[in-house]
């Protein structure tokens, strides 16, 4: 039961307290680029969460059974990125075959996920924090959920902003960043939520 509580706390902390985008600064490119509409943002979030969970599992296995077992730490970055690129490729092919509808909705976002620094960041944080296999998968899932939460919130705000009067120079990236800053401040309120 103790371990279950730990895992649950890990999940909550990854989604809210140490949110990947607003606290760890991972996944900023898609956060700025794909947050114009709630629907698109949600699809991106979904696809990313799926890839993140699988990546967490796959990289944990590779790190434990190959890199550490054979003492090849210097191949970590090269092997992780190969895993991520391959996973994204397989996920894309899998979705294309099993659900053409879903594929159409997610389509262009999938290849972009390879360069999402949140995925590689996630893969690197797992050995750094020494998580068990289950903890890693929960961590990956939580990271995806937190990512989706932030990007959907941002999209909601930006949709409303379309009706506002933003000064010319601030249109687009600047105002998005400022909003992100305010969101980050709001999320700061979550720290201390769980006294670990």
């Amino acid at each position: 039961m103790e371990e279950f509580t730990q895992i649950l706390l890990l999940f909550i902390s990854t989604v809210l307290i140490n949110n990947f985008i607003l606290v760890r600064f991972l996944g900023i490119c898609p956060f700025l680029g794909v947050s114009k509409q709630v629907e698109t943002a949600f699809s991106m979030g979904l696809a990313t969460t799926f890839v993140m969970t699988l990546t967490a599992a796959a990289t944990w296995l590779i790190n434990t059974f190959i890199l550490e077992a054979l003492n090849l730490p210097f191949l970590q970055y090269v092997s992780f990125i190969i895993v991520i690129a391959s996973l994204v490729q397989f996920v894309e092919m899998f979705i294309k075959k099993t659900s053409p509808v879903l594929y159409k909705a997610l389509g262009i976002f999938l290849p972009l996920i390879t360069t999402n620094c949140a995925i590689l960041g996630l893969a690197l944080l797992i050995p750094l924090n020494g998580y068990s296999f289950i903890a890693s998968v929960v961590f990956g899932f939580g990271a995806g959920v937190g990512f989706t939460l932030a990007i959907v919130l941002m999209a909601g705000l930006r949709e409303k902003l379309e009706f506002g009067d933003v000064p010319g120079a601030l249109k687009g990236v600047p105002v998005t960043l400022i909003i992100a800053g305010i969101m980050a401040m709001a999320f700061m309120g979550f720290s201390g939520l769980i006294s670990m």
């Binding site: 307290i17 730490p73 191949l75 090269v78 720290s191 201390g192 006294s195 670990m196």
Partner: protein, 186 residues
């Protein structure tokens, strides 16, 4: 061989992969001694900060934990250093504690790693807060908000009670482990 044929693709990727692995092996062999020296130096510095006048450090394992025994130039044991971690306000706090087993006192503590809020909880690394634990006798500590009137009291950082309490608890846990390993007094 046609440029985009399957054979060409596999050969290209395989070649790049092999050259990459070879180059990185060299980089690894070249830098590893330096990296290890850096880590050893960092650890020695950390231990020297919490144990005075230590010339030699002996790493021992007791009850499943690692303790660093410090000896001075004449070979006398100065004290023991121990690394303890625990949850803080914003993440894990890692503390190095140096104790004197003869007088059952903490020499000094050093915060190795933390993620506390800058300006608030982060002030646990400051001189003022750490002085709470300088030459402090072992005991059950209580965190108070006013200047301590008893030796077992620790003054919290204004606005960072949780961080202050976390550090105190981590240190108490460490003392417990040190005492059970070295069979000391309290």
């Amino acid at each position: 061989m046609e440029k985009n044929s399957k054979k060409a693709m596999i050969i290209t990727l395989a070649t790049i992969g092999i050259i990459s692995a070879l180059l990185l092996t060299f980089v690894y062999e070249w830098t590893t001694p330096y990296i290890q020296a850096n880590q050893a130096k960092k650890q020695k510095q950390a231990i020297n900060e919490v144990l005075p006048k230590v010339e030699k450090i002996k790493e021992v394992e007791k009850n499943g934990s690692v303790f660093y025994e410090g000896y001075d130039a004449s070979g006398n044991q100065v004290g023991v250093a121990f690394i303890s971690s625990g949850g803080g306000y914003n993440g894990v706090i890692k503390i190095m504690i140096g104790v004197d087993l003869k007088s059952n006192e903490i020499y000094k503590i050093s915060i190795l790693n933390h993620q506390e809020t800058p300006g608030l909880g982060a002030r646990i690394t400051g001189k003022k807060f750490k002085s709470n634990f300088k030459n402090k006798p072992f005991g059950d500590y209580t965190v108070v908000k006013t200047p301590p009137s008893k030796e077992t009291q620790v003054q919290a950082i204004a606005g960072a009670t949780i961080s202050s309490r976390s550090v105190t608890k981590i240190i108490e846990d460490a003392l417990g482990k040190i005492n059970s390993a070295y069979g000391g007094g309290n």
